[in-house]
């Protein structure tokens, strides 16, 4: 089966005024099959949002290819690119800034149809009504302005807008991180429900491992512009092999787990700047297992069972410092 989305060696760099370059995304490859949801997890500055924007061609990659259903998305320009836009849509992080305050809710959802000339003009309103219902909003709300909606409702509107063109792929950039936990659950459930109903494909960006585990079928862990570990969700959470993934897992808090922080596995320091990323393994500086090899040489990507890929010199050789993983491995 050909994947719906095939990203090969994607690189996005930003030049700075002072001559240096931000290596925001530095050689990322992945495939997403139709109906899957592919989660990208990482901390701020890891390049996960830039990856999303590159997929949407809101920023231009400097290298690599993005293939969406045989279309070479990474190279298209102008009208050719525009004509493909209906195939992929995006849900943004901040529901407050992602809706035009001057457009009524109905217009906002209808806008992509009008801009791309999709469907007969008469049918568009019906389609908008449909979408409102699909995301749990009453079509009467079409006449309201964005500021009259709550954050959760706005995110529903954004989802409706993203889905109105019947896209093949929806890129969700931290769609719930600005929401309160109760609303977050509502939106996650909505996304899950819609995916099931409409057989959607997601690329889902998040900093929250638990959310990704809940929603995604595949997960990539990103650090400083690179994927350090990629695997199907179940495999990753059962057999994580990269020390960075472990640190993320150890830091994730759960109401069920009252282990005091002083007894948890933690890494020191904070992610270094993506302007001059370390030469060897980019995580070496914070990794408790790092050796001189790690600091000097770029780790190879090792593939394990079920397409589990890990970029670590010692992948599979280290004992996970987390009791659950250690127990599972043993």
């Amino acid at each position: 089966m050909t994947p719906l989305l095939d990203v090969q060696d994607l690189k996005v760099h930003f030049p700075l005024a002072n001559g240096s370059t931000v290596h925001a995304v530095d050689g990322v490859s992945f495939q997403v099959n139709e109906g899957d949801s592919f989660g990208i997890v990482g901390e701020s500055g890891s390049g996960k949002s830039t990856t999303a924007q590159a997929l949407m061609r809101l920023v231009d990659p400097v290298a690599g290819s993005i293939t969406l259903d045989k279309h070479d998305l990474g190279r298209l320009e102008g009208e050719a690119l525009r004509s493909l836009r209906h195939m992929l849509q995006m849900v943004f992080q901040d529901p407050y800034s992602s809706l035009n305050p001057w457009l009524r809710a109905g217009q906002a959802v209808r806008e992509p149809l009008d801009l791309m000339g999709l469907g007969p003009a008469r049918g568009r309103d019906k389609r908008v009504d449909e979408m409102f219902r699909a995301v749990g909003l009453h079509p009467d709300a079409k006449r309201l302005f964005p500021h009259q909606f709550s954050g959760g409702q706005r995110q529903r509107l954004c989802i409706a807008r993203a889905m109105v063109t019947e896209p093949r792929l929806i890129v969700c950039d931290e769609p719930v991180s600005a929401l309160d936990v109760a609303i977050q659950a509502q939106i996650l459930n909505l996304l899950k429900k819609l995916q099931a109903e409409k057989h959607l494909t997601y690329v889902f960006i998040s900093h929250d491992l638990a959310v990704v585990q809940h929603l995604c079928t595949h997960v990539a862990v990103m650090y400083l512009g690179e994927f350090v570990e990629t695997a199907p969700t179940q495999e990753l959470f059962a057999n994580a092999k990269h020390p960075y993934t472990w640190s993320l897992m150890a830091a994730a808090l759960s109401p069920d787990d009252t282990t005091p922080s002083t007894e948890r596995f933690t890494v020191t320091g904070e992610p270094p700047s993506p302007i001059n990323p370390p030469k060897g393994c980019r995580f070496a500086g914070r990794c408790p297992f790092a050796t001189d090899t790690c600091r000097a040489e770029k780790p190879p990507v090792k593939t394990f069972a079920e397409g589990h890929k890990v970029a670590c010199h010692y992948a599979g050789e280290l004992t996970p410092p987390l009791p659950e993983l250690a127990a599972h491995a043993a």
């Binding site: 936990v181 109760a182 659950a185 069920d256 009252t258 282990t259 933690t266 020191t268 987390l322 993983l325």
Partner: protein, 333 residues
Amino acid sequence: MDPVLEITDLKVGVDTGRQVQSVLDGVSLKLTPGKTLGVVGESGCGKSMTALSTMGLLPDRFAVSGGSINLMGEDLLAAKPARMRELRGNAISMIFQEPMTALNPVLTVERQIAEVVELHQGKTGAEAREIALEMLRAVQIPSPEDRLAAYPHELSGGMRQRVMIAIALACRPKVIIADEPTTALDVTVQAQIFRLLRELQEQTETAIMLITHDLGAVAEMADEVAVLYAGKCVESGPVREILSNPSHPYTRGLMACTPRLRLGAAAASAAEEGLGEIPGMVPPLGRFPKACRFAPRCALADARCHAEAPPLVPAGPDHSALCWHTDKMEQVA
């Protein structure tokens, strides 16, 4: 042990010009030395207002309309502004959510720490500088000597939050109020900050009021928990008690909404786990329901819930909940 800070029946209102709307309605909390009280709830429930009332830093148009805040036998609500200034940053200090903006961008780290020491302990010059350095060491900032002259923008988010903690701790306060101190930080850094707070608390016996929306953070940090909803404290008690046996439908709902990380063997079953929901949203200010404020979103709500304010019902040792149906909790989620 005697509480170091006791908030009793605190009422706060906001003057919208047309009317005074209730923001907090009878919140009572207790802080014990060396212990952490977690205050949880969604945004708009009054967590931050509780903290700011305690600090005497309520924004314009907000005013305390009843209750008492007692710090070691002194009623803060009755204290004069000058007295409050003496206490602030000294006996009681605060850590804010956004380390990016909570530090003054144009002053050096040294200045911002030394300032409190100068103000409250009368130490100046080299002495104040020495204390500032000591505080930076205490919050485990690498090469603290170099950091003294740094400006906030030259520090990472985690380091800035460490500086905030240094400022808060500089005068050895009895109480620290930490308002969502890690929300703006990455998870690995959050873990570091929590660890630091724990370690410092063990050394100083400071009482911490940890304000958060994250039950995971409460589980990790808190000894006691208070759950706020729409300006009321709906449930309070020891952390293990509350998390293992939540006795208010709201607390239960929050627990159900929070996605759990399932690692190792448990990962296999994660896919089947659904996510609970609390329907609707926190009512905006001024539109709090009259009886039980949670009733419109509550699966257990019946006619009485909509008609009569619920009583505070004991649900275990030191554990109480504001609900008519504490006995029917199993039915929720």
